[in-house]
Amino acid sequence: MQLGAEILIESLRKENVRVIFGYPGGAALKIFDALKDAADIRTILVRHEQGAAHAANGYARASGKVGVCMATSGPGATNLVTGIATAYMDSIPIVAITGQVATSMVGTDAFQEVDITGITDPIVKHNYLVQEAGDILRIIKEAFYIAQSGRPGPVLIDIPQDVTAAMAENIDCKKVDLRGYKPNITGHIRQIKQVIELIEKAERPLICAGGGMNSARATEELLYMAENAGIPVTTTMMGRGSISQDHPLALGMLGTYGLAAANMAVQACDLFIALGMRFGDRVTGATAKFAPHAKIVHIDIDAAEIGKNMRVDVPLVGDLKVVLGQLNKRLQSKENLSWRTEIAEIKAKYRAKKMEAEAEEEISVADVIENLNKGLTNDCIVTTDVGQHQIWAAQKIKTNLPGKFISSGGLGTMGYGIPAAVGAQVACPDCNVYVITGDGSFQMGMPELGTALEQGLPLKIVLINNQTLGMVKQLQDHYCQGRYSSTEFSKSPDFHHLALAFGALSLRVAKRQELAAKMEEFVQHRGMAIMEVVVPARENVYPIVLAGSGLDEMVGT
């Protein structure tokens, strides 16, 4: 016989959990008590539960493993919610464990009681309310299996206090058997043949790699297909890292904030091959105008994505690594020379433009990214927050491998960057982890600097300060005739002293001439460092595809 909380720890150990991001509380007392004795599991105390969920997310994306976060009942659990939704939208495998009031108290509005399984129903892949300590091992096993198989996603396990305190037999369960959950792995042969036929016939094929490419870790298969069949590759924001930015076939990010060349290629192609993407509205612009000359092949592990947002000519359900393998085996070598020349011309025509400086010393965000790129090596990880800085980073930052560009794509969660970097740094202690953030997002994610300080994590934070909520301000430029409502900070904290308060090296740059040298010092610093770069508020992200427009109808190319 064993205590429920001990069975829980034992079960986590069986799933090779080495790190838990958590925050304790009354209903989770027994669990944290049991964790105290688990020397092989590192419990990282965060400063806010939302940070725990984001850190688990960053950990999962950097390591390719399941991230685990833990919180108490009530407010602890609800604070996880934004983080769970963030992981759900980006299909990131995390397991969230919450304490719950005792089973006898459930439903009585007890202190710190909240129906967290009810609340999270629409934003988890699956959730559990544990009724018996004897079920814990099976549930943990199922939860980890569900979180990381098929289309990955978050799973929540809510465990009442009395269940963690009850004694039970630790019954081993050998295999997960869920009759309602059988992900399709292998692509259907008839559709495989149809796709091959389309690729062979196409004169202007284009691959679009989405977040599914990163979860399937099928970079090699993608590269082989692109090179062998002469197909250019664009990526979504979540698909960043599935092909090197420097690859001659790479077009960069497409979408309403995508690179002009990528968008023009979409509108010109005659075959659009979607790999592990969901045709989100930030990718397609007006769906009716999307890729007007193209047949569309949609390959995804989630059948529910196919036909959800976009017309599809050939659907193909399966695991990308397997399906691309199946396709590569049958694909003939092809050059598509005239199309590739056309692509090269498109790329040359649409070079990124920089803001025109009003004063010589004024810094454009493009300067910041360019300078940071010089310091990046292939193993560096870059997380971002959400806003204009995120788009600039997604367009231009040189991270070339899967799991190295970590950003909240689907939900667009401000305050994600710093905690996600905490998770990524814990997963990859030997990598340099950078955060690109803005003055708005920084103030949302700031509490986790305390975690970084305590854990000795040498995060490198680039704080791009334009004294506004830039992205919303830009939307107000486009849609509200430039009436800025609640987007300008008339006062901000002294970021220099804030950085010092968290024990970080603090650098501040306001002149372009000083940027290179300060960046060098920043990149070379061994501990945590925060570099505030002051930029003018007037710089906007371009090109942009406004509401109702097609991808070729960009503003500001």
């Binding site: 009810g118 529910a304 036909g307």
Partner: protein
């Protein structure tokens, strides 16, 4: 496959699910999120007590119903989803209806009950309770026939449907 088009149609979905708490609200939630009203719902254990069958009727755009069916299929506790709208089915619902029945009209009501082959299951001093099973059309017809006597209370189950065997 072009998944566009289609107007509003009444769809009957047969959903096999794990017989566990919370599953029904999960299934219903997927429809309510889209602003779709479930018109009829029947849940019960199947021959396998660990499996329940939900039969639900919902009106909506064909494309969206297909999407919701796929979303349903994704749920871990959902074992199978069948859209049986186009199938040859036997449909039944149960009606219990308490109707005003003074001595003067009692005979007439009993004749109607006879014609529709339903049953009287309770006799009160001024009322009768009529039990009827049948498809939607029959149930509607019975209600209409008894309306003029004054219906005191009416309760009906959701529709259950089963696909006919091969002929």
């Amino acid at each position: 496959m072009r998944c566009w088009g289609g107007g509003k149609v009444k769809h009957t979905l047969a959903v096999l699910v794990e017989n566990r708490p919370g599953v029904l609200s999960h299934v219903a939630g997927l429809f309510s999120r889209r602003g779709y009203n479930i018109e009829s719902l029947a849940v019960g254990e199947t021959d396998d007590p660990s499996v329940s069958r939900i039969t639900l009727v919902v009106e909506g755009d064909a494309k969206i119903i297909e999407q919701v069916s796929k979303q349903l299929n994704k749920q871990v506790e959902v074992i199978k989803v069948n859209d049986i709208t186009e199938e040859e089915t036997v449909d039944r619902q149960l009606l219990l209806l308490k109707v005003n029945a003074d001595i003067a009209v009692r005979q007439e009501i009993m004749q109607i009950v006879e014609i529709f082959r339903c049953r009287i299951v309770d006799i009160g001093r001024r009322s009768l309770i009529v039990e009827a099973t049948g498809d939607d059309a029959k149930i509607q017809a019975i209600i209409k026939s008894l309306q003029s006597f004054g219906i005191m209370e009416l309760v009906r189950t959701g529709r259950v449907s089963i696909v006919r065997g091969q002929k």
